[in-house]
């Protein structure tokens, strides 16, 4: 019963306090962190955390591990790029360059990605477990090839300069990276709050029933594939937010952003954070990005080697760390945290009548 953790660990005071501190630190962001941290590490953490949250939402509440979230993230970015950018002098990148109003382009990109997600979901909804995983992997592969080969909308080198076309109510992001910082932060908090809200609505509780016992749900009167489809659409909506932020941050999107290694990276982020709790999305993203940014430059203090060695073998390092975390805790860093809290409360309640709290693992 690995999902017990979801409901059996009430928000403790400690968690609330840590959450509040993290939020205050994040809100002060650019004031307390240097530029590199604020504009690289934290923005990336916020936006990849949203993508990971869409994956974790499906897994933790719907029992579906999706490999399509990276593809959906890329689809949103590509649609926005095609709709919002203009061609013309200096515009060497591919794409339709429709030059729409950025706000309209933004709304359409999110809506179309959600619609594509619903379509993907409708096809995958009748499959479970490894079959579901394979179908969503197929979505990821198809998306990569589609973008690479259909030069009309993307092509191998993708679309660039998207961050020059932002809605007026957001303003110029390239010259004001702090704006993007706050936009990403707000989007991340919005995503978190929205998921926490949705899982307590009739739709969310129903989804959890589908996760635990789909057969029972059908005989109670529920349309199980429809619920799965809608959950997938909702997760696609979240992934689209992340894709939009990504193209505003990096300016460009290409098939290389949605290919197999990137798909696996997002899964690694989600697994490091923990597939059972939404908070794990940002924790995992943060850990992943820190490793990515610092392993490259790491040199063993006395031995004097590392550096380029690790730079070239980043994937090996992240692979080993991944393996260690998964071996120690199948529910990732959030799982370690939950166990630490459980152990602490056991010690706190020690006494003759003390009883172990409900098992969270196994």
């Amino acid at each position: 019963m690995r999902w017990n953790v979801l409901r059996s660990s009430p928000k403790t005071t400690i968690e609330r306090a840590i959450g509040a501190i993290a939020l205050v630190l994040a809100a002060l962001g650019p004031l307390v962190f240097n530029q590199y941290w604020a504009h690289q590490i934290l923005i990336e953490t916020f936006l990849f955390g949203i993508a990971a949250a869409s994956l974790i939402f499906l897994s933790a509440y719907g029992g579906m591990v999706s490999l399509a979230q990276t593809a959906l993230f890329g689809i949103a970015g590509v649609i926005l790029g095609n709709l919002a950018t203009r061609g013309g002098p200096g515009g060497t990148s591919k794409g339709l360059h429709l030059g729409w109003d950025p706000t309209v382009a933004l709304v359409v990109a999110i809506a179309m990605t959600t619609a594509i997600g619903l379509m993907f979901g409708a096809i995958a909804a009748r499959s479970i477990g490894i079959y579901f995983l394979m179908i969503t992997l197929t979505y990821s592969v198809i998306t990569t090839y589609f973008l690479g080969q259909v030069t009309l909308v993307s092509g191998f080198s993708g679309i660039g300069g998207i961050n020059r076309y932002t809605p007026s109510w957001i303003g110029d992001l390239t010259g004001h990276p702090n704006r993007l910082y706050y936009v990403s932060l707000v989007a991340a908090v919005f995503t978190y709050v929205l998921i926490r809200y949705v899982v307590r609505t009739p739709f969310g509780i129903t989804l959890q029933g589908v996760r635990d016992e789909p057969v029972r749900m059908s005989s109670l009167g529920y349309n199980v594939p429809l619920h799965r489809t809608l959950a997938f659409g909702f997760a696609a909506f979240l992934a689209s937010l992340s894709g939009v932020l990504y193209v505003w941050w990096s300016g460009q999107i290409a098939p290389g952003n949605v290919d197999l290694p990137e798909t696996i990276s997002l899964l690694v982020i989600a697994v490091i954070g923990g597939l059972a709790r939404i908070e794990g999305a940002w924790l995992g993203a943060f850990a992943f990005i820190i490793i990515q940014n610092y392993v490259r430059g790491f040199t063993f203090p006395f031995l004097g080697f590392g550096g380029t060695l690790f730079g070239g073998s980043f994937n090996t390092v992240i692979g080993i760390i991944f393996l260690l975390i998964v071996l120690i805790s199948p529910d990732g860093l959030m799982g370690i945290w939950d166990r630490a809290l459980a152990a602490r409360s056991r010690v706190g309640r020690a006494g003759p009548s003390a009883e172990a709290p409900a098992r969270t693992g196994g």
């Binding site: 019963m1 009739p202 959890q208 029972r216 349309n223």
Partner: protein, 260 residues
């Protein structure tokens, strides 16, 4: 149908099963079964392990398609209807292996059971209707005396409590027809007594079909008994007729009783 109470009720069959069969590969798990159950009837289905009782439930509830035959529920042909349509017509069932939502609380589980046959599963907002469903959930919990565990995770409960939750889930949707698959299995004698009392006190409007290994429970609750063996119905009659039937003794009553 000689019993007096039956005459005061509608004699229109609630459930009609014609020549229903279900094969698994070469195995005829259910073989050419006919069944007619009138509104408000209490019917027990007995038979040794592997007789096809659960499979018959599965095809009636729509969890499995039939291989042959026809099923009519409340006057509708539901042979090809999915399980959720049959649930919406007023059929509720429990499962031999309980099939509970182990990671939800008892209240959420019963809430889902009450909500299933209503509209608005997809609503992303909680409304007054949900408060009504939760009230129903608590009411169902009270009927099986599990209301002190409403806030607990189902996965943390005991086996006996799981059976209580399973019965409460079947009741929570206020069904017209209730199908219980071995609800007493694994219960203590005290718990069996409580279950029997609950079933005897069940609203006369509700049609009950009960698969039960425990003859005490089954024969006390049932007005008619259908005996199955190797996928076929071999005897049908009142509890007294069943008790007196030699064939039944040979097959079932004489054999040591097993649970599950």
């Amino acid at each position: 149908m000689t019993e007096a109470p039956l005459e005061t009720r509608s004699t229109e069959p609630t459930l009609r099963v014609w020549g229903v069969g279900r094969r698994f590969g070469g195995l005829h798990a259910v073989n050419d079964v006919d069944l007619e159950i009138v509104a408000g009837e209490r019917r027990a289905i007995l038979g040794p392990n592997g007789a096809g009782k659960t499979t018959l439930f599965n095809v009636i509830a729509g969890d499995l398609p039939v291989s042959s035959g026809r099923i009519e529920l409340f006057g509708h042909d539901v042979t090809a209807a999915p399980a959720r349509k049959r649930a919406r017509l007023g059929l509720a069932r429990s499962y031999q292996q309980s099939r509970l939502f182990l990671n939800l609380t008892v209240e959420d589980s019963l809430y889902l059971a009450a909500l299933g046959v209503r509209r608005g599963h997809l609503r992303p907002v909680t409304t007054r209707r949900d408060r009504e469903m939760r009230e129903r959930a608590r009411e169902a919990a009270r009927r099986v005396a599990i209301d002190d565990k409403l806030g607990e995770m189902v996965g943390s409960l005991s086996h006996g409590e799981h059976r209580q939750v399973a019965v409460a889930m079947a009741l929570a949707s206020k069904p017209r027809m209730l199908m219980l698959d071995e609800p007493a299995s694994g219960l203590s004698p005290g718990e069996r007594q409580l279950l029997t009392d609950l079933l005897l006190a069940l609203d006369r409007e509700i049609t009950l079909i009960l698969i039960e290994h425990d003859m005490d429970v089954a024969l006390r609750v049932a007005e008619r008994v259908t005996m199955m063996h190797e996928g076929r119905v071999i005897v049908e009659g009142t509890p007294d007729e069943i008790r007196a039937n030699e064939y039944v003794h040979e097959l079932y009553l004489g054999a040591p009783q097993r649970d599950e």
